[in-house]
């Protein structure tokens, strides 16, 4: 899994524009996290895709977008995962290394869950 981190302007239409590039290149985005960050009026997008070659191909196209300030792949060692699990016992929140989170999710077989990559 490759994780890409973007610093973008925090305004309407930015997500559509960024995702449009992935759409055009026929790349399925596996997980995506967007949120405010340390700089006012900027946001970070952290997303993951499976194929490294595809990630490298799309990188320059994302960087060319006017509303994207930075875009880079994040080193494997900084990949993290989080998940939110729902089962009869209630909600369970997980954060940790990718392997840890994956192991717990597959072991606990929850009714519903959402799992995403994160990195900084």
């Amino acid at each position: 899994m490759e994780v890409m981190m973007l610093l973008v302007y925090d305004q309407p239409g930015v997500m559509q524009r960024v995702m449009g590039e992935f759409n055009r290149k026929r790349i399925n985005v596996e997980t995506i996290v967007v949120g405010k960050c340390e700089i006012p009026d900027r946001a970070r997008i952290v997303l993951s895709i499976t194929d490294r070659e595809k990630a490298m191909n799309v990188l320059e196209h994302i960087r060319a977008l006017q509303e994207v300030i930075e875009c880079d792949l994040v080193d494997q060692s900084r990949h993290e995962a989080y998940a939110l699990l729902s089962s009869k016992e209630g909600l369970c929140r997980l954060t940790g290394s990718v392997q840890e989170v994956e192991a717990i999710v597959s072991k606990s077989q929850p009714e519903k869950y959402i799992q995403a990559m994160n990195a900084i």
Partner: protein
């Protein structure tokens, strides 16, 4: 001041001399302010043509063309014009009106989400929802259109922004956009490759036209003894009467150009994106070649063809850097001599006096009779390929065509825009009857605004290129490619709009008709009734290599390209 006044002042400050647009409900405050402006306004009869006119104007003047359309259908009509400019990297600022912000998203009358519609077909686009940001948005639009790789920028302006109050402070706000970074790390590698090349070839693309690097490229070509092939978009960037310039390459290119492209050992590709119409089968293209790829847009390097060396920068700068760096050149004129010989031999020996009139004859006569500063635009299809193949571009001649998007109906409005940008030059649209019928209403614009362009119509009564493909690849099963009789009488059609027109059916009448048309002070249509059986050959079928080239009557003797 009101937003509408601000809009006009912002356009004036950008030195906009002419704009092409059609008003509508939400644009009326803006048009009301235009009454007092010196900006020339051209009223096309369809928004798509407003886009193409601005595009044609931009390609000649090298300044961003401005086009305007109203909300909803105006914006959807303009999409084709913007997309055409985008694919050919033409600078443009496209303004659309939009319904008021308080009803935006409520399916108001004439509302369309033009912001989303334009997003994938423009370099960048804005929807102004805060009047405070309106002046800086307009300034940014012009900057983005002309920074780095040129392209169209769309600004969607809701009607209440035109009515809102804008302060002087907001008007005075300076803006900046980041310049694309140059990356010339591979320069030494590139120089080394060029210095040691046995059979170097230079391939130039549309970027060279925008960067005006033709002269420098010819200097470089002479230094390394390399032939120069152009893509369709680069036609006119280098003089086609120079012995080292081989003309247009690709699907319908000249055989000698494709030969040089496929048999070189080092390919220096400048300002081109390796379109599939040039490369044919991508996996075979450049397989034996070391490619040095120069482009201003870093995302183009390695997109289609993985080169040995990528240099990011504008053509003019990089070519000059290469010239400065080249020192010891292994002199081996064998390749150069062979190419020059082949180039001399690569000329079609069609009998141009045959009847019915051959379309090639018309292009040949245009090439012979047009002045050295003529501007030729083309529509899309067979007319375009014949023009690219047989028309010789040198001196101050320009060749304007929709290469990327392949928009039928581009040439006529683009010719009008070109003529406005350079009124002293003869401007000729080489048209087909299919394409012209998509935009024939613009004769009204041409006559109304006194824009005397020549339309050289190659009238064969077919969607010729569709017919050719049906003939070659679908067993001559023609469907929906012939215009069943009676097709319109184009002479009467042009005359109905107040333009001059004549019909030419004999080869002997062609030259005289062209001379008469270029001297006319009215828009002028020549209806060349040409042989419908004529195909554009040679042709490399899509996705194939030169081995599969369909030669037709081509007398090429240079071997497999």
């Amino acid at each position: 001041m009101k937003g509408a006044r601000a809009a006009v002042e912002l356009l004036e400050k950008q030195n906009v001399e002419v704009m092409f647009g059609i008003p509508g409900g939400v644009l009326l405050p803006f048009y009301d302010e235009l009454v007092q402006s010196d900006i020339r306004h051209i009223l096309p009869r369809h928004e798509q043509c407003a886009g193409h006119m601005a595009d044609g104007y931009a390609r000649v003047s090298k300044k961003p063309g401005v086009c305007v359309a109203t909300s909803g259908p105006g914006a959807t009509n303009l999409v084709t014009g913007v997309a055409t400019a985008f694919m050919d990297s033409s600078p443009m600022v496209a303004i659309t009106g939009q319904v008021a912000t308080h009803v935006l998203g409520n399916d108001a009358f004439q509302e369309a989400d033009s912001f989303s519609l334009m997003m994938p077909v423009s370099k960048h686009n804005f929807r102004v929802v805060d009047p405070k940001l309106f002046p800086e948005t307009m300034k940014k639009a012009f900057l983005i259109a002309t920074t780095g790789r040129y392209g169209p920028v769309h600004v969607d302006i809701p009607v209440d922004i035109f009515q809102a109050e804008i302060t002087d402070e907001q008007m005075a706000k300076e803006v900046r956009v980041p310049k694309p970074k140059r990356n010339l790390e591979g320069l030494l590698d590139a120089i080394k490759l060029l210095e040691t090349a046995e059979r170097p070839t230079i391939m130039v693309g549309g970027g060279v036209i925008w960067s005006r690097a033709g002269t420098e490229i010819m200097r470089l070509a002479e230094m390394v003894m390399a032939p120069v092939v152009t893509t369709l978009m680069a036609k006119g960037s280098v003089p086609e009467n120079h012995p080292l310039v081989l003309g247009v390459c690709g699907m319908h290119g000249r055989q000698v150009a494709n030969y040089a492209l496929n048999n070189c050992d080092v390919l220096l590709a400048i300002g081109t994106r390796f379109s599939d119409r040039v490369t044919g089968k991508l996996s075979e293209f450049g397989a034996k070649t070391k490619v040095v790829h120069v482009d201003i847009d870093s995302s183009e390097i390695g997109k289609n063809v993985k080169g040995r060396v990528g240099l990011v920068g504008d053509a003019w700068t990089v070519v000059n850097a290469l010239i400065a760096g080249l020192q010891k050149r292994k002199k081996s004129p064998t390749w150069k001599q062979r190419i020059i010989e082949l180039n001399k031999e690569c000329s079609c020996d069609y009998n141009l006096k045959l009847e019915p009139l051959k379309p090639q004859k018309v292009i040949y006569e245009l090439s012979k009779n047009l002045p050295d500063d003529a501007i030729v635009t083309t529509e899309v299809g067979q007319n375009q390929m014949w023009a690219a193949h047989f028309y010789k571009c040198y001196g101050k001649r320009m060749f304007i065509t929709s290469g990327g998007l392949g928009t039928m109906g581009f040439g006529f409005p683009a010719a009008l825009g070109a003529k406005i940008a350079r009124p002293k030059s003869v401007v000729v649209d080489i048209a087909g009857d299919g394409s012209l019928q998509m935009v024939s209403q613009e004769f009204a614009t041409a006559v109304e605004n006194d824009i005397p362009v020549v339309v050289a119509l190659l009238n064969n009564g077919w969607l010729g290129m569709v017919k050719q493909w049906q003939k070659l690849f679908y067993g001559s099963r023609y469907k929906a490619s012939q215009f069943t009789v009676p097709t319109p009488d184009f002479v009467k059609l042009a005359e109905a709009y107040g333009a001059e027109a004549i019909r030419v059916e004999r080869p002997s009448e062609v030259a005289e008709a062209i001379q008469r048309a270029t001297k006319s002070e009215m828009p002028f249509l020549i209806d060349f009734v040409v042989d419908p059986e004529e195909d554009v050959l040679p042709m490399t079928p899509p996705g194939k290599t030169s081995v599969d080239c369909i030669m037709g009557r081509c007398p090429w003797k240079g071997g497999v390209c």
